[in-house]
């Protein structure tokens, strides 16, 4: 039991530590593809450190919600980390606290506070960003539900560990047509939820065109650092679920031994690298969509996931 508890903590630490790295790698890769040199892959760590040491300026209109939101944004991905297989193929202590559906609700909690806090400063840009973020979120939700349906049908569970286990052991279902479709849809949702191109440009700095970033426009110092870190972790966690649960359920530790765990960390990093490459390719080849075209993008995702569901029902 103690070992598992420690492993759980270790998973949390892995997510905390490596999530800025994922962001750094993506930025660097993107720069390379665009024939630039780009910042160091450690740049996000420097940013965070710098921000943590800065003083904060807060809008006179802001209330405690504004100050609480960064903490929530930071805590929520970590909470989800407790539920998913990051390193181990066997369940860890806190895994019973929520399944994928519950995890979805928990992530929503972060979104709720982030969007609410954006309205707290009275700045219209924050409020605008909040409204747009909500739009992306509610469009993504039915897709997620479809995904959960297919996963629960194919794997017979919605608990990430058990899903992972089912596919790892069975091996068969990864190549189910419905599964493939659902994987694509889920990936599109990840892009939308984490504010990547083609839904949103994470590197853009034009207020009127921003969706996700404009929520945190009014933040500075520690709060901003926590929000940024939370954002990195959210991407990392979602990618972990994507990789470890849905696409590549292999390479996780099956025993509590140091080599197995090291191997698991390495394989995770490898998977993340693959994910980063995928994201970078998409971000470099596609353009950002107009705001209301996002609905079409997510609509496409929905149709794909629905197709997955239908293919399952008709038994292909």
């Amino acid at each position: 039991m103690t070992a598992r508890l420690l492993l759980n903590i270790m998973q949390v630490l892995v997510v905390m530590l490596f999530s800025p790295l994922l962001k750094g790698v993506i930025s660097r890769l993107k720069a390379i593809i665009q024939s630039k040199r780009g910042p160091s892959i450690w740049q996000p760590y420097y940013d965070l450190y710098k921000l943590f040491r800065k003083d904060e300026v807060i809008s006179t209109d802001a209330s405690w919600i504004f100050r609480a939101a960064p903490l929530v944004s930071f805590a929520v991905p970590l909470l989800v980390t407790l539920l998913i297989p990051v390193l181990t193929g066997f369940p860890l202590t806190w895994a019973f606290m929520g399944d994928m559906l519950g995890g979805g609700f928990i992530l929503s909690l972060g979104g709720f506070f982030a969007t609410l806090a954006a309205m707290d400063t009275a700045s219209p840009y924050g409020q605008m960003g909040s409204s747009r973020t909500r739009m992306v979120s509610f469009l993504a939700e039915p897709v997620l539900m479809c995904v959960f349906f297919v996963v629960s049908l194919v794997a017979g569970a919605t608990i990430p560990y058990i899903v992972n286990h089912a596919w790892y052991m069975g091996g068969k279902s990864v190549i189910y047509p419905s599964h493939v479709l659902v994987v694509i849809a889920f990936f599109m949702v990840i892009l939308a939820e984490t504010g990547r191109i083609p839904v949103d440009n994470p590197d853009g700095h034009f207020e009127l065109a921003m969706i996700d970033e404009s929520k945190s426009l009014e933040y500075s110092g520690k709060g901003f650092a926590l929000i940024k870190w939370g954002g990195y972790m959210k991407l990392f966690v979602l990618m972990t679920i994507f990789m470890n649960v849905l696409v590549t359920p292999w390479g996780l530790a099956t025993a509590v031994t140091a080599p197995a765990l090291t191997l698991a960390v390495l394989s995770l990093l490898l998977k993340m690298l693959a994910g980063a490459v995928l994201i970078v390719i998409i971000e470099s080849t596609l353009a950002k969509l107009r705001l209301f075209r996002v609905a079409e993008f997510l609509g496409m995702a929905f149709v794909i996931s629905l197709l997955g569901l239908i293919t399952y029902f008709i038994g292909v």
Partner: protein, 701 residues
């Protein structure tokens, strides 16, 4: 003391509270006496319910003879008592709140009348839940409708209010007419009005009668709970009613509508054909999505909240529909799971919607406004109200660790478990319902972010909002209690679900609490899957069988809000600690927000609620189909055009395609007959001649 005694005292206190209104002078005294009586009565009622529940279900309370309809019975079973307790609880919250809230009416309206009606309404509600036969239920139901009508139109000097009340009354009565038809059909074909007799004879009901009863009862109760084409009275009536009455409507009478549905279409007729459940599922999903979509378009707090009640009705209906489908399929455990889910959600909705309406009432009390676009910035002047409203919003948005999360998660799990069903059709329907509910949940978050954000955050848009003062102590207490209840219901589902097991078994024909709340702590070997997941963690510290909720199969899914409540603060602390460790001590400064280059930030620069929900309008425009009118303003004297503008109006499809044509048809039809009374005496005599001639011919034919 026995339960009967407690309930007698409750009745006496409540009646006294009503009767004293005839004697007391002065508004303040009237408020204190009547609401004090209501508080006491609900406490006595709670005591009575607890005593009765401990004594076991099927208690006989009282009977009266009302010829020729037969005996009127008060004989609650587990389901009745559950709703009785819920009523008492909500009543307690609202009455405490009203002690302060009603003060606002004192100089202008007759609060003594309010006090009297309020206390009698309480009795009607109590009798509705405790009734043991259809006539008692119907009488109490109708009295409840009439009294809630009178309370809705309490501010009767406003024509809008009385019009809204009329709308409500007519729709409710139309529903009651359908109910009467359903009840009479049950009576005729079973020979009984009492629940026990009907349930016993239900097996012999012809299928056609059962179907008719189902449809009639669904539509009849549908008016009260607001299923999709019948919710039309919700927005105007809730907006017109005083906030505490709106809370009663949403927290209590809507719940009693759910009770009626449970009773008449799940309990009494027994086995149901598959399509009943499917109808409920489809209707529920539609109700949920349309309800929240229309809620998003509202800028008036109370109208928005009422439409969000429609959404929640949809969720409850989906739960009930799932229970029905599972029951028909013989999956009694799953049916019980679905029934527990629906009941749980009913309770949750009652609690958080009460909280939200009371919050809206506090805002109205402080600012006199209900429109979000005129409010803002209340978080600084009304911090407690803001906190409570936020709790309510988190609950209704189904976010952990509050109560909405548990029941909504359970609802979706119930739908996910549809793979146990052998048929494809119900599985497809349930999957579709699940997808729609997911969208609904996300839209609900949007809706309440908007409501909280525009009302309480940012900067005050109108002077009234800037001048607001925090609510009084009773109002605060009245909101704090349901807020605490939201949290408790959210983090201790393992204590709630076993209580719902009995009532749910009445609806589902099976039980599920055993599976849903496994006793991991006491029998870990029996729940290996769960223990493998870590379910036995922190054994013995938490006061629950296992503090884990499992929709029947621990290998499929589980949640534990109780543990989440432990883990969430840990993570928050972790974040705070990291910030402190890495950053050391830093300073927080206050600064004005950037005004876009202007010298001073004008509150009108902020986003309004309308703007906030505009993406929804754009995306779902084909559903809203807003009508855009060109409005030209002219100078009164010389026809000089002052301004041209666009006015966008959204009519609900129910209003456009159902109510208006219905009323038009009614008047058209009546107009067609108006020649009958033309005023000509010759014509009148001619009727008699023609009738006579006809009679003669008919008689000798």
């Amino acid at each position: 003391m026995t339960g009967q005694t407690w309930l007698l005292i409750m009745t006496a206190v409540s009646l006294l509270g009503a009767l004293l209104m005839a004697v007391v002078t002065g508004g303040r005294a009237a408020v204190v006496v009547s609401m004090g009586a209501a508080v006491l009565a609900s406490l006595f009622g709670l005591a009575g319910a607890v005593t009765l529940a401990l004594a076991g279900s099927g208690v006989f309370l009282a009977a009266a003879v009302l010829p020729p309809l037969g005996t009127l019975l008060l004989r609650p079973d587990g389901l009745s008592l559950l709703f009785f307790v819920l009523t008492m609880l909500i009543w307690l919250f609202i009455s405490i709140f009203s002690l302060d809230y009603l003060q606002k009416f004192i100089p202008r309206y007759n609060v003594r009348g309010f006090g009297a009606l309020y206390n009698i309404l309480f009795l009607a509600l109590a009798v509705t839940t405790l009734a043991g036969d259809l006539v008692t239920f119907l009488i109490a139901w109708e009295v409840m409708t009439a009294l809630s009508y009178l309370l809705i139109v309490f501010e009767h000097r406003n024509p809008e209010t009385t019009k809204a009340g009329f709308f409500m009354l007519v729709m409710s009565e139309t529903g009651s007419v359908l109910l009467i038809a359903a009840f009479i059909m049950l009576r005729i074909h079973t020979g009984h009005f009492d629940f026990a007799g009907i349930a016993a004879a239900a097996a012999s009901l012809p299928a056609a009668v059962k179907n008719a009863v189902f449809i009639l009862a669904l539509l009849g109760f549908g008016v009260k709970v607001g299923i999709v084409p019948l919710y039309g009275w919700f927005p105007p009536a809730y907006a017109a009613a005083p906030a505490n009455v709106a809370a009663v409507l949403s927290g209590v009478t809507l719940s009693l509508g759910v009770y009626g549905l449970c009773r008449v279409i799940l309990d009494l007729p027994g086995a149901a054909p598959l399509w009943w459940g499917l109808v409920l599922l489809v209707l529920g999903a539609l109700t949920a999505i349309l309800g929240i979509l229309y809620a998003l378009m509202e800028q008036n707090l109370k109208r928005m909240l009422s439409l969000s009640s429609v959404e929640n009705t949809g969720l409850i209906l989906v739960g009930l529909g799932a229970a029905m489908v599972y029951r028909t399929g013989g999956l009694y455990v799953l049916a019980a799971l679905a029934a527990i889910t629906a009941l749980y959600h009913t309770i949750n909705h009652a609690v958080y919607k009460t909280l939200l309406f009371l919050g809206a009432g506090a805002v109205e009390f402080a600012t006199g406004r209900q429109d979000m676009d005129g409010l803002g910035g209340l978080s600084r002047t009304m911090p407690y109200t803001t906190l409570f409203f936020l709790v309510g919003s988190l609950s209704i948005a189904a976010l952990p660790p509050f109560n909405g999360f548990v029941s909504e998660w359970l609802t979706l799990q119930t739908l996910l478990l549809s793979f146990h069903l052998p048929d494809v059709l119900p599985r497809v329907v349930m999957a579709a319902a699940g997808v729609i509910l997911a969208l609904t949940a996300a839209l609900a978050i949007t809706c309440f972010v908007k409501a909280c954000g525009t009302t309480f955050l940012g900067r005050a848009r109108r002077p009234e909002a800037a001048r607001a003062r925090e609510a009084g102590p009773c109002m605060k207490l009245g909101m704090a209690l349901p807020a605490v209840a939201c949290l408790l219901l959210g983090v201790l589902p393992t204590l709630v679900i076993p209580r719902l097991n009995g009532p749910a078994s009445i609806l589902a024909g099976g039980t599920a609490a055993q599976q849903m709340v496994p006793a991991v702590f006491s029998q870990p070997e029996k729940f290996k899957d769960l223990v493998m997941l870590g379910g036995g963690f922190l054994r013995g510290i938490l006061p629950a069988p296992g503090a884990v909720v499992v929709p029947t199969d621990p290998g499929f899914s589980s949640i534990s809000p109780t543990y989440l409540l432990v883990a969430l603060p840990l993570m928050l602390l972790l974040g705070a600690a990291l910030a402190r460790i890495f950053g050391g001590r830093t300073v927080q400064e206050k600064g004005p927000v950037w005004a876009g280059g202007e010298e001073r930030f004008d509150p009108a620069q902020q986003y309004t609620g309308t703007a906030y929900s505009n993406p929804v309008l754009v995306l779902f425009g084909s559903i809203y189909r807003p009508r855009v009118d060109l409005v030209r303003h002219y100078h009164a004297q010389n026809n000089f055009r002052l301004a041209t503008g666009y006015q966008r109006q959204i009519y609900s499809p129910a209003e456009r395609y159902l109510y208006r044509p219905a009323v038009w048809l009614l008047y058209k039809g009546a107009g067609l007959l108006s020649w009958i009374q033309s005023g000509r005496v010759n014509q009148y005599v001619a009727y008699m001649l023609l009738l006579l001639a006809g009679a003669l011919i008919y008689a000798v034919w």
